[in-house]
C-alpha cells in the first residue's frame, strides 16, 4: 500500500471509531471498549519489546502495575491531577524498566523470559506486602477521576464511559502513531536487525544492548502510562490485576494478532478483551477453555491471525513458515 492510501485508511478507521459510543450505548459494551483501548496500548508497548526487538518479556504487567500504583498514590495522597500523574507514572515505569533492562537484557531467550517473569512476581510481592504504602491485598480505592481539562477555551470533563472512551482512543491512537514512527525509523531498523540476528547486527556497528534497553524502556514507560489510565478509570487498584498471568495474557494478545506487525497487536488486544466475555457462560471452566484454545491456536497458527493472513496475501506463507522452522532460536 502506498503511504497516502495507508494514511487515508487510518484516518477513516479513526473517524469510524469515533461513532462507536453512538452505536453502543450500554455501559457494559463501553467498558469492554475502554478496556480494549488500554490493552491496545499494553500490547503495542509489549510488541515493541517482543515483536520488533525479539526480547521476550514476561514481566510487562509489572510496569503496568508500577504506573498504576505511582499514579494512584500520587493523586490519592498528594492530590495530584491525572494530567500530571500519567506522565510521572510513565517516567517512573520507564526508569524502573531501564534499570531492569540494563540488568537482564544481556540474557537471551528462555533465560530472559524467566527472569522477567520473576521480576513480575517480585513486584507483585511488593504490592502485596508493603502494606504501609500500597495497602497490601486490600488495594487502593477512592482514586479520583481525571479533573476537568481547560485548554484554549475548550472544556473537557471525564465522567461517563463515553468520555473515557474518547480519551482512551486519543491515547491509543497516539501510542500507535509513536510505535509506527519508531519502527519505521532507523531505530526500528536497528531493532529488527537485532531480532533477526544479533551477532550480525553488532558486527555492522549497531550497539545492540543500547537499542534493546531503549525498546525496553519505552515499552515499560508506555505500559506505565496505560496503568495510570487504568487506575483513573477503574478508580480502584489491587495487586491481583498486575500478576504474571496478566503479563502472559498481554503476550498472548500479541501472539494472537501476530507480533511482528503493527496491526496484529491491536487486533489481538481488542479480540482477546471481547472474546473472554463470551466465555463467561462456561463459568468455572472458562480458563480451561482459554488454555485449550491457546494450545490449539499455537499449534495451528504459529504466526498469529494477522501475521498468517498477511503472509498468505503476500504468497510467502510457505517461505515464512520455513524460516520460522529453520531458525528455532530466532526468538
Amino acid at each position: 500500500m502506498k503511504k497516502q492510501v495507508r494514511l487515508l485508511v487510518a484516518a477513516l478507521v479513526l473517524i469510524g471509531l469515533l461513532f462507536i459510543p453512538k452505536l453502543f450505548s450500554m455501559d457494559y459494551y463501553m467498558h469492554m471498549f475502554v478496556m480494549s483501548e488500554i490493552y491496545t496500548v499494553l500490547a503495542l508497548s509489549l510488541a515493541l519489546i517482543v515483536g520488533f526487538s525479539g526480547q521476550v518479556s514476561m514481566g510487562h504487567a509489572a510496569f503496568y502495575g508500577i504506573g498504576a500504583y505511582v499514579s494512584a498514590l500520587l493523586s490519592v495522597n498528594f492530590g495530584f491531577s491525572f494530567w500530571v500523574t500519567i506522565w510521572i507514572a510513565g517516567i517512573a515505569a520507564g526508569v524502573v524498566s531501564f534499570m531492569i533492562g540494563v540488568l537482564v537484557l544481556r540474557l537471551r531467550g528462555h533465560f530472559l523470559a524467566i527472569t522477567t517473569a520473576f521480576f513480575g512476581i517480585l513486584v507483585g510481592l511488593v504490592f502485596n506486602n508493603w502494606t504501609t504504602l500500597t495497602n497490601g491485598p486490600m488495594g487502593i480505592s477512592g482514586i479520583p477521576r481525571p479533573t476537568p481539562f481547560h485548554f484554549a477555551g475548550f472544556n473537557m470533563v471525564v465522567q461517563t464511559r463515553a468520555h473515557y472512551y474518547y480519551l482512551g482512543l486519543a491515547f491509543a491512537a497516539l501510542v500507535t502513531f509513536i510505535v509506527y514512527r519508531l519502527i519505521n525509523s532507523r531505530i526500528g531498523n536497528a531493532l529488527i536487525a537485532i531480532r533477526e540476528n544479533e551477532e550480525l547486527a553488532r558486527s555492522i556497528g549497531i550497539d545492540a544492548m543500547a537499542y534493546k534497553v531503549f525498546a525496553f524502556t519505552v515499552g515499560g514507560g508506555l505500559a506505565g502510562m496505560a496503568g495510570s489510565f487504568y487506575a483513573h478509570y477503574i478508580l480502584f487498584i489491587s495487586p491481583v490485576t498486575f500478576t504474571v498471568g496478566e503479563s502472559i495474557n498481554i503476550l498472548v494478545m500479541i501472539i494472537f494478532g501476530g507480533m511482528t506487525t503493527l496491526f496484529g497487536p491491536i487486533l489481538g488486544a481488542v479480540f482477546l478483551t471481547v472474546l473472554p466475555e463470551f466465555l463467561r457462560i462456561a463459568g468455572s471452566l472458562r480458563l480451561v477453555i482459554y488454555g485449550v484454545a491457546l494450545v490449539v491456536f499455537i499449534i495451528w497458527m504459529p504466526l498469529g491471525v494477522w501475521g498468517s493472513l498477511k503472509s498468505f496475501w503476500m504468497g510467502q506463507r510457505q517461505a515464512s513458515l520455513q524460516t520460522a522452522r529453520e531458525n528455532p532460536e530466532r526468538l
Binding site: R106, L107, H110, F111, I114, L125, V295, P302, P328
Partner: protein, 289 residues
C-alpha cells in the same frame, strides 16, 4: 539462635531436594526438546493428587502411592508430549512457552474444577516418628524426602550415563541431526524424556504433599523456581542443578526464617539478580544459549 539456624538450614536442604527433582526433569526436557515446559508444575501437582487419591481411596501405603503416581504421571507425560509438544518442536521458543502456559492454565483449572481448592495432606504414616539430634527435630517424613531424592537422582544419573537410552538422550541434546543420522529413534527418546520428567515431578509433588499440602495451584511457583535453579546451575550438569537447587532452597528457607517470611518467594530472584551482577557467565560457568 544457632539451633534455629540449623533447623532452617535443614529445611532448606529438604526444600532444595524437591527443587532438584523438579528442575532435573525440566532441564531434561529443555535439553532434549528445546522446550520450556511451564506445564511441568502441573505434572507435579497432578502427581501429588494421584498419590493423595491412592492413599485416600485405595488405602495404599505411602511408598506404593508414590510409585503409582510416578507411573501414572510418566504415562501422562508421554501422552502430552505426543499430543501437544511434538507438533511444535523446533518452532520459535515463544510458541512453546505460550503453548505450555496454555496447557498449564488448562490443567490447573481442570484440577481446580474436579478436585476443589481446599488444601489436603497426603497421609504418609511417618509424621509421628520423630528424631532428635543436636537439638534438631526431624520427622521421618523429611528424612524420607532426603533419602528418596538422593536415590532418584542417583538412578537418573546412572540411567543417563550408562544405559543405551540415556546415551541416546545425551547424543540428541548435543546434536539432534547427527543423532538422527546415527540411527537414534528421536521420537521414542522424546517420549521417554517426558515420561522421566513426569515421574520425577510426580515424586517431588508426592513428597511435598506429604510434608506440606496438596492444592491445585501449587504448580506455578515451583516451575518458576525450577527455572531459576536451571539458570543458576547451568545446563546438562546434574551436579550443577543439585548444587543450585540446594542454594535456592537454603535462600528461601533462611531468608524466610530470618529476614521476612512474606517475601520468601523473592529471595531466589534476588539471588539471580546478584548472580547477573557478579558473575554474568553463570554460577558454574556452563554453556548458555
Amino acid at each position: 539462635m544457632f539451633t534455629v539456624f540449623l533447623q532452617q538450614s535443614l529445611n532448606g536442604v529438604i526444600l532444595g531436594c524437591i527443587y532438584a527433582l523438579t528442575a532435573l526433569g525440566l532441564s531434561l526436557v529443555f535439553g532434549i526438546l528445546e522446550v520450556a515446559n511451564f506445564a511441568h508444575g502441573e505434572l507435579y501437582m497432578l502427581g501429588a493428587f494421584m498419590a493423595l487419591f491412592s492413599t485416600k481411596l485405595l488405602g495404599a501405603p505411602f511408598f506404593l502411592a508414590l510409585l503409582i503416581s510416578m507411573v501414572i504421571m510418566a504415562i501422562f507425560g508421554a501422552i502430552i508430549e505426543r499430543g501437544v509438544f511434538r507438533p511444535i518442536v523446533g518452532k520459535p521458543m515463544i510458541n512453546s512457552m505460550l503453548l505450555s502456559f496454555g496447557l498449564s492454565t488448562a490443567l490447573a483449572n481442570l484440577a481446580l474444577f474436579f478436585f476443589k481448592a481446599d488444601p489436603r495432606k497426603i497421609d504418609s504414616g511417618l509424621a509421628e516418628i520423630r528424631f532428635r539430634f543436636f537439638g534438631l527435630h526431624v520427622t521421618a517424613e523429611r528424612l524420607v524426602v532426603l533419602v528418596l531424592s538422593v536415590i532418584l537422582v542417583a538412578l537418573l544419573a546412572w540411567f543417563i550415563q550408562y544405559t543405551k537410552t540415556g546415551k541416546a538422550m545425551r547424543a540428541i541434546s548435543q546434536d539432534r541431526v547427527a543423532a538422527q543420522l546415527a540411527g537414534i529413534n528421536i521420537r521414542r527418546i522424546y517420549s521417554v524424556t517426558f515420561a522421566i520428567s513426569g515421574a520425577l515431578a510426580a515424586a517431588a509433588g508426592t513428597m511435598v504433599g506429604a510434608i506440606f499440602f496438596v492444592s491445585p495451584e501449587m504448580g506455578f511457583s515451583v516451575v518458576l523456581k525450577s527455572f531459576v535453579v536451571i539458570i543458576l546451575g547451568g545446563f546438562g550438569s546434574i551436579r550443577g542443578v543439585i548444587f543450585a537447587a540446594i542454594i535456592i532452597g537454603l535462600a528461601e528457607s533462611l531468608g524466610g526464617g530470618f529476614i521476612n517470611y512474606s517475601y520468601k518467594d523473592a529471595y531466589p530472584f534476588l539471588l539471580l539478580v546478584l548472580l547477573f551482577m557478579l558473575r554474568p557467565q553463570g554460577l558454574i560457568g556452563g554453556k548458555r544459549s
